[in-house]
């Protein structure tokens, strides 16, 4: 495995399955009573967050702490970044402090890649979301959750139909998920209004649909995306209400789902916009399982990146 995790494409199919299988064993270890493991004792993990985040930061922090790593949290607000410090100077400061891994979230696509390739630091870089580009650990935790809910212990998703619905254009979650789910054999359909689909989506190797109702009945997994108003500097749909009517997962649509289908959402949810409260809290919703699994998957990623010998 590489030293960094920047994209879901950094992982081969086998490596992805190893991470997922390790996460499952970590759950057994944890359920067996070993809540705190000494594996990464003495290693420092820096959470470098230039964008706001609740669950991803807490999830990484919790994962690192359960493996006994030291965690340093850094958020742009209240740091020297607000005084105009560059990414380079920030990174060199972290290097000087001896960080072994840097978990970075940044508003600019490619920021994690820049940090990894720059030579500013020797630490492993884990991309926790860069702009509208990628969020590989989210894709891993989603795949882990799908494997769990459908009892697919080998993570062979052949024949499984996954729909990713909503703001594909701005979604790093969608990009990483498409890459990973295809690798694991799933059939992926992206469902969105044309304005929220990126140029070149036909090259992704997925089906594209503008008709949520027609696509919905076939799906085993419905992955709803958040409408990212903070990245929308243009008018992408006439009104929130109209979007919700055409692409929101409301009770009526929920009832047309296959009985065994699951509903996912990476959070934070805009209840009433892309997903109704009833759908979010329904029995088919696995949103909270996604959060729980996030910690296990991130423990697994940290283990594989940090526990072994350097350059082994």
């Amino acid at each position: 495995m590489k030293n960094h995790l920047l994209s879901a494409n950094d992982l081969s199919r086998e490596e992805a399955i190893t991470i997922l299988t390790t996460a499952r064993e970590l759950r057994r270890v944890s359920d067996g009573g070993q809540k705190k493991l000494p594996t990464l004792r003495g290693r420092a993990v820096v959470n470098l967050f230039f964008e706001d985040s609740t669950r991803t930061r807490i999830s990484f922090e919790s994962a690192a702490k359960r493996l006994s790593a030291d965690v340093i949290n850094f958020s742009a607000k209240g740091s020297s970044v607000s005084k105009g410090e560059s990414l380079k100077d920030t990174a060199q400061t972290l290097q000087a402090m001896g960080a072994d891994a840097v978990v970075i979230r940044h508003g600019a696509s490619g920021a994690a890649q820049r940090l990894a390739d720059s030579g500013w630091i020797s630490a492993s870089v884990i991309n926790a979301g860069d702009g509208t580009h990628e969020h590989p650990t989210q894709a891993l935790l989603d795949a882990f959750t799908i494997g769990e809910k459908f009892g697919l212990d080998t993570y062979d998703f052949t024949g499984l139909k996954v729909g990713i619905v909503g703001d594909i254009l701005h979604s790093r979650v969608a990009r990483s998920n498409v890459l990973l789910l295809k690798k694991l054999g799933a059939e992926v359909t992206v469902i969105a209004p044309p304005t929220l689909l990126p140029v070149g989506v036909e090259l992704w190797g997925v089906q594209v649909s503008y008709d949520f109702d027609a696509a919905l009945k076939e799906l085993d997994v419905v992955m709803m995306l958040r409408i990212q108003s903070e990245r929308m500097h243009d008018l992408f749909f006439p009104s929130a209400r109209e979007y919700s009517r055409a692409y929101g997962l409301d009770v009526a649509r929920l009832s047309t789902l296959k009985s065994k289908a699951i509903v996912m959402h990476p959070g934070p949810m805009n209840r009433g916009l892309e997903i109704s409260a009833e759908s979010a809290d329904s029995l088919q919703s696995v949103v909270l399982a996604q959060v729980t699994n996030g910690v296990l998957v991130r423990m697994s990623v940290l283990y594989h990146l940090l526990a072994g010998a350097v350059n082994a």
Binding site: M1, T18, T21, T22, E25, L26, R28, V29, G32, G33, Q34, K35, K36, L37, P38, T39, L67, Y303, H304, A307, G308, A309, V310, A312
Partner: protein, 175 residues
């Protein structure tokens, strides 16, 4: 490569160890067997089966110690192996750890650390199929299938039906 124990020898060694365990612990009522994967876990299963025939059913599980190893930084990361703690837990139980080969003692040290995270057994004992010497820590086995004095450039290969297709213990010169 020369064969030290064949299938019959392994069966007899396990049977004797089972009797010793029962004698020392006055029966099986408080016993919990925990094998260390991969081969220790299968030996643990076999021991539990024999104990059940002689005395009574004995909870059996597996304890992976990868996350507690002290040599993680010396090798590439390894996949984790299954950990299965029996529903009775280990609190107050007489825990018998089972492994195939006792060598440096570092695996057992890691296993003791792992156990300490899970609970507080009444006692921890150690059963191994082969003790080959060369300890690097003050650890000894309570039950030994066979003591095989070795030199450092020899290696011991334990094969079990469940993973290797046959039972046997061989000694070979390390290349």
């Amino acid at each position: 490569m020369s064969r030290i124990l064949d299938s019959g020898d392994i069966g007899r060694a396990l049977k004797r160890i089972a009797h010793e365990i029962i004698e020392r612990n006055h029966g099986t009522s408080q016993l919990t067997i925990l094998g260390i994967p991969t081969r220790g876990a299968f030996l643990g299963e076999r021991l539990a089966t024999i104990l059940a025939e002689i005395d009574g059913p004995t909870p059996v599980g597996a304890l992976d110690i990868t996350l507690h190893r002290d040599d993680l930084r010396l090798r590439p990361p390894r996949p984790l192996l299954p950990t299965v703690i029996p529903p009775e837990g280990i609190e107050g139980r007489q825990v018998v750890l089972v492994d195939d080969v006792l060598f440096s003692g570092r695996t057992i040290r890691a296993a003791l650390d792992a156990l300490g995270e899970i609970g507080r057994p009444a006692s921890v004992q150690l059963a191994v199929l082969v003790d080959r010497g060369h300890r690097e820590l003050p650890i000894r086995a309570d039950y030994v299938g066979k003591n095989i004095p070795t030199s450092a450039n020899e290696s011991i290969k334990v094969s079990l039906l469940e993973v290797d297709g046959e039972d046997g213990v061989d000694i070979e010169a390390r290349s």
